[in-house]
């Protein structure tokens, strides 16, 4: 690349008007051993940027361990858990009577017993009345 062309590109470069391709050309130019005296102050900048481009992380990065139980699987598992819970509640409601139902059936049994007792008592009263009336007739 000619010095004149380098000068134009450098001016554009410092104005922030160069394209990536033009900047790459400058970078290549400044990697040379022999460059024009007037451009020497800027050589270190291009060499420095080139050296920084080769800096690497030098550390193996790790992904989360739960790859088997990934987020998608976790979502499916949580939906299944909710479904199972709802199912269990529904089934248990069908098989086990509610407290209100238990109280009602106990109450019904008690009422049945009470009505039996009342019937028996009514019969006893009828007998007593019959005895009274028979004894009154005998007295007469």
């Amino acid at each position: 690349m000619e010095s004149k062309q380098v000068k134009i590109l450098l001016d554009k470069f410092f104005e922030g008007n160069t394209t990536l391709e033009e900047e790459h050309l400058l970078e290549i130019y400044f990697q040379q051993d022999e460059i024009a005296e007037s451009f020497l102050p800027f050589q270190s900048y291009f060499i420095h940027t080139r050296s920084l481009q080769s800096v690497t992380i030098n550390k193996k990065l790790s992904l989360p361990k739960n790859t088997f139980f990934s987020a998608k699987k976790q979502r499916i598992a949580s939906i299944a858990a909710v479904g199972l819970t709802v199912f269990w509640f529904t089934v248990s409601n069908f098989t086990q009577p509610a407290i209100e139902e238990l109280a009602f059936s106990t109450f019904k049994e008690n009422m049945f017993l009470m009505s039996n007792q009342l019937n028996r008592a009514e019969q006893d009263i009828t007998y007593v009345n019959y005895i009274y009336s028979t004894s009154d007739q005998l007295k007469k």
Binding site: F14, H24, F42, S51, T56, L61, P64, T67
Partner: protein, 171 residues
């Protein structure tokens, strides 16, 4: 997104993420931790989002925001100490080395730029991003990116000429 696809996207940009984080956080260890954190965040995010328009740009922006958060956090005090130690070491090194060691000077000059200019210079001159990509990463408009880049380069040009002339006069 499967693990294999995720790795094929993240591995080519690990070094870019590292260099960007290193520019912000100075310390290599801090930068490595930052990249690890960003990779994990991106991994979790990719489980929710099926398609990325610009995976690399998104990761770079995430790294930038993470580093800024780290600098603002309580641990920033520690980072500032690392930063200061680094500067002191460099000063000592500079005294020991030849004053005309231009690469050291360039490094020092770019470190002393305002943070925004420093990052734009990094993204353009080292990572070779175009202005639109830089604008997205830095959350600025492309025109402002161009202006900041020009200011940063001109500052460095001025200083390099001064250093060069000083070297010639004293040498």
């Amino acid at each position: 997104m499967t693990d294999a696809v995720f790795l094929s996207l993240i591995q080519p940009i690990e070094d870019k993420l590292f260099r960007l984080s290193r520019r912000y956080l100075i310390s290599n260890e801090e930068a490595q931790d930052a990249v690890q954190e960003v990779v994990l965040k991106m991994y979790v995010h990719t489980q929710k989002v099926k398609f990325f328009q610009n995976f690399e740009g998104y990761a770079m922006r995430m790294a930038r925001n993470y580093c800024l958060d780290r600098l603002k956090s309580k641990q920033a005090a520690t980072l500032r100490l690392v930063h200061r130690a680094e500067t002191i070491d460099r000063n000592n090194l500079d005294r020991k080395l030849n004053d005309n060691d231009s690469l050291e000077w360039v490094d020092k000059l770019s470190q002393n730029l305002p943070q925004q200019q420093k990052m734009i210079l990094q993204l353009r001159d080292i990572e070779a991003y175009d202005f639109d990509e830089i604008a997205k990463i830095m959350e600025m408009n492309p025109g402002a990116v161009r202006v900041a880049l020009s200011r940063a380069r001109k500052t460095i040009r001025k200083k390099l000429i001064e250093i060069h002339n000083y070297g010639i006069q004293t040498g």
